[in-house]
């Protein structure tokens, strides 16, 4: 009967030595993990409450299912192979040990016998092959294809860490196979064929004969055991720690809406000056980073100027914690103001991170400190001063906020004076930008033609504060939000509608509303509803071939992808998607207050990259946007890239207006 003699050829002293090594390994491992945990606890408190089963399911899906990791085929399969291979081998080895040294030893009973044993052997043998393939892919990728995102780490020593993991895992796998092969070569069991790889290796060793093979077996087994324990002990001190940090980070990832930024944690509202002011969750974020670089690949700030790499930020912050600051200051020595201001808060990095790191929150917390110091771009400084004084980023009188309504017939209702069904929160750009007045009026026109009972706040409206908050000026955000909340509290309405995704995001996710949040819609959603309900009926089929740009704060932040697409299709346009669309849409570069900052050392503006992406689409000559800032950004980019004749940037409302 097929049966496993687990410690075949292993003298008793070696078996005992193994358990002593194991004990040392456990001590080192626990010490290392404990050290990490103690350090997380040095961070500020942060609650990640409830949702136990949601969190568990997320861990199962993302760790065992490797869901997000598999978003990219090659690296995904590579990691999947190594993960599942190593996981099963480790479980199998542990199982065999228990089988021999617990059940067999104490109860004289073995599970690994007969057919079960055969299947066990076959599974492990094949999965070992999976690891070899995965590691081969990893070595090929890291050292031969050498993608940019795996190069140029801010901490050079980390390249050794990466290499260490690959060498050790390879050695464990290969030495495991050799041990198996040598055992089969000597014992030559009848069921050897069920371990195809081991058996093949055994054939190679047959000629050497005993006792060479027995000695060799013991030597390699010892090395295998030592390496395996060495790797286990090294987990808390190397990149391998991600095996613990990532599942923990996924478990504790935020279950709040993506668009709700956590408030400044330092009591006085200022940001993070030194690392201990990060929350434990942020510290965990830094440690969970495996520097896979997916974030860097999708980062518009990185693409446009290479100033900011979210990957490098995580690497540097993690390193900063490990070196116990070493006399370095967090701001200046570790992260530069230029890096922090470069972020557009587009959330692409967060969306792709397989470790569920929330880069943006960390960047904003660091920016809050810069704001506290008053250390910022002159243009941004002026804009914030304007927002504080006039409630708009344009520095124009608040009394002229509704100047665009002049001449609109019938007159736009004042929602402060009469009750309306829809309160249109117009936003700064649509209100003040001279080149957008036309679009704003068309929006009013469409609303009126649809018979919508709507009104606006006129000079009672202030900038909603979404990007003020993301710039890091929490105090100003609170003031703006207060003013708007007070103005809204005096109005009677059912639904708030806005054309600005940024306004939409903060109203929906960040305003307090005292538990009584009204219905809040982006105009794309409203138009979609009106079309579905038949309130909007189109008389023209436009027949344009168009592409659509997902605004970050509508798409990634609030998951509104389908409504604008349905509206576009309803106007009779053919929608052709850009390669980067939906949750992978590339940011226009304006978010997070970037539109208020001076662009320095830009190689290619994100908006220009986007237009170049769109012009490659066959036959598409219309670039549809659903955000006033996008309109200005892309109209500009079309000019600066010389594509004025090939691409027309149009607001969603223009299509609707034309099709009516």
């Amino acid at each position: 009967m097929p049966i496993r003699e687990t410690f075949w050829n292993i003298p008793h002293w070696a078996e005992v030595a193994q358990y002593i090594t194991a004990l040392i390994t456990v001590i080192v491992f626990l010490y290392g993990v404990g050290h990490r945990i103690l350090r997380w606890r040095k961070g500020r408190p942060e609650k990640r409450p409830g949702n136990f089963w949601t969190r568990v399911w997320l861990v199962v899906l993302q760790v065992f299912g490797q869901r997000r990791t598999l978003d990219e085929t090659f690296p995904g399969l590579m990691h999947f192979s190594i993960f599942w291979g190593m996981f099963v081998l480790a479980i199998g080895t542990a199982f065999a040990t228990v089988d021999w040294d617990v059940t067999h030893l104490f109860f004289n009973f073995q599970i690994l016998t007969g057919w079960f044993y055969i299947i066990f052997e076959l599974t492990l043998d094949v999965l070992g092959l999976l690891v070899v393939v995965g590691l081969g892919m990893a070595v090929y990728r890291r050292y031969f294809t050498r993608p940019a995102r795996l190069q140029n780490f801010p901490v050079k020593a980390l390249e050794w860490d990466d290499m260490y993991v690959l060498i050790m895992l390879s050695f464990i796998t290969l030495s495991g196979y050799l041990t198996e092969g040598l055992r089969i070569a000597v014992t030559q069991p009848d069921w050897a064929a069920w371990s195809p790889v081991g058996n093949a290796i055994a054939t190679a060793f047959l000629s050497m004969g005993d006792p060479t093979n027995q000695t060799l077996h013991l030597t390699i087994w010892s090395l295998h055991i030592l390496t395996a324990f060495g790797v286990l002990a090294s987990i808390p001190f190397t990149k391998l720690f991600h095996m613990i940090a990532v599942p923990a980070n996924i478990y504790f990832s935020s279950t709040e809406p993506a668009g709700k930024l956590s408030a400044a944690k330092v009591e006085d509202g200022s940001g993070v000056k030194e690392w201990k002011q990060f929350t434990w969750k942020q510290l965990l974020d830094f440690e969970a980073c495996t520097r896979c670089g997916r974030c860097q690949d999708v980062c518009p700030a990185y693409a446009s100027a290479q100033v900011l790499s979210p990957r490098n930020m995580m690497v540097k912050l993690d390193e900063h914690l490990w070196e116990k600051t070493g006399g370095h200051t967090l701001h200046g020595d570790i992260v530069s103001a230029a890096e922090l201001w470069a972020c557009t808060t587009c959330r692409a990095c967060v969306q792709v991170c397989p470790a569920f790191i929330d880069h943006v929150t960390t960047f904003v917390d660091l920016r809050r400190h810069l704001v506290d110091l008053g250390s910022m771009d002159k243009m941004l400084q002026d804009t914030l001063a304007n927002l504080g004084r006039y409630g708009n980023s344009f520095g124009q009188s608040e009394r002229t906020r509704a100047k665009w309504t002049q001449g609109v017939q019938p007159a736009v209702k004042d929602a402060r004076r009469e009750s309306v069904e829809y309160l249109w929160f117009v936003g700064d750009y649509a209100s003040y930008n001279a080149t957008l007045t036309d679009i704003t009026r068309k929006t009013a026109d469409v609303f009126q033609k649809t018979g919508l009972n709507f009104g606006i706040l006129f000079d009672g409206e202030r900038n909603a504060g979404n990007d003020v908050r993301r710039v890091g000026e929490e105090g100003l955000f609170e003031m703006l939000a207060d003013r708007n909340s007070q103005a809204l509290a005096k109005c009677k309405f059912e639904t708030i509608v806005t054309t600005d995704p940024h306004t939409y995001n903060t109203l929906k996710n960040e305003y307090a509303w005292n538990g009584n949040r009204p219905n809040i819609l982006h105009y794309a959603e409203l138009l979609d509803q009106l079309i579905t309900s038949g309130q909007i009926k189109f008389s023209n089929k436009l027949g344009y071939k168009v592409t659509y740009h997902d605004p970050c704060y509508l798409g990634r932040y609030n998951g509104v992808y389908d409504a604008p697409r349905r509206v576009i299709k309803a106007t009779g346009c053919e929608l052709v998607e850009m390669p980067r669309h939906g949750d992978r849409a590339f940011c226009c570069g304006a978010g997070g207050g970037r539109i208020w900052m001076d662009e320095k050392d830009i190689k290619e503006r994100p908006s220009e990259s986007r237009i170049r992406e769109a012009v490659t689409l066959n036959g598409v000559q219309t670039f549809v946007v659903a955000c006033p800032k996008d309109l200005t950004m892309y109209r500009d980019a079309v000019k600066t890239t010389g594509n004025e004749k090939d691409m027309l940037v149009r607001d969603l409302i223009e299509l609707v207006y034309e099709a009516l």
């Binding site: 006085d268 008053g374 910022m376 400084q381 009188s397 105090g475 100003l476």
Partner: protein, 253 residues
């Protein structure tokens, strides 16, 4: 070094200005006030100086809507003492204001007084030189940058055309600031709020204002646009053609 910065509010030009029914003054019901931008620079310069050589900064101004906010913001930037003059300033002029400030400054005895070189609503002189004369101190205006020694300051005075004169002025002195060495810094709202709970604004009552030396306005009006530009409309192409025509007419093309 003890540095005093008297500042004043002026009408905010972002808002539309209207003349009151009397026709001799701005309509105050629509008026919104803002810090005179040169005074803002003076505060910044004072704080920069304090950061360099130590000392204390006193910011003083006549009461006005928003004055406290400005004073607290100055404290958040680094001002040590905040003073608000109280009284009826509705019909005040720069001579009266300078006299009131001079009384205060005689008491405070600062080493250096920095104030904005001018304000856009100055009609009867500028505060800085008036103050200097009432205090018997030297005055240099259009200052953009200075270094301080024990009993004197070396200032960079700007002349038209970009010429700069480096001058030594004996202390105590009054300087009219054209621009601080760096733009006035931004103070976060949270910082101002923090300061509000700790900083105190001292009140100084101004019993009566002496308006002598001022002037009387008989009519205030918005300039009529007599020679408005000929506007060129149409598409960018059409406008470009017209511009080129003008170039050709003038023989520059």
């Amino acid at each position: 070094m003890k540095i005093a910065v008297p500042v004043k509010f002026v009408p905010d030009l972002v808002e539309e200005l209207t003349i009151d029914p009397g026709g001799t003054a701005l309509d105050t019901s629509w008026l919104r006030l803002i810090i005179n931008e040169f005074d803002d620079h003076a505060v910044e310069q004072a704080i920069l100086l304090k950061e360099r050589v130590g000392g204390q900064v006193i910011v003083a101004m006549a009461e006005a809507e928003g004055a406290d906010d400005f004073l607290f913001a100055s404290a958040a930037k680094g001002a040590d003492q905040l003073i608000r003059l109280t009284g009826d300033f509705s019909s005040s002029n720069n001579h009266a204001l300078a006299r009131a400030l001079a009384d205060l400054l005689k008491e405070l005895k600062p080493d250096l007084i920095l104030t904005g070189v001018q304000a856009h609503n100055d009609l009867d002189g500028s505060i800085g030189p008036l103050l200097a004369e009432y205090l018997g101190l030297p005055y240099v205006g259009y200052v953009a940058g200075l270094t301080a020694a024990a009993d004197m300051v070396t200032v960079r005075k700007e002349y038209a055309g970009g010429l700069i004169a480096e001058m030594e002025v004996k202390l105590p002195a009054v300087l009219g600031i054209q621009a601080a060495e760096q733009p006035p810094r931004y103070v976060a709202y949270s910082k101002i709020r923090q300061v509000m709970s700790t900083a105190k604004i001292e009140e100084r009552a101004v019993a009566s204002l002496d308006l002598s030396g001022g002037i009387t306005i008989s009519r205030m009006f918005q300039p009529e646009v007599t020679e408005r530009a000929t506007m060129m409309g149409g598409s960018p192409e059409e406008v470009a053609d017209k511009v080129i025509e003008i170039f050709k007419e003038l023989g520059t093309l």
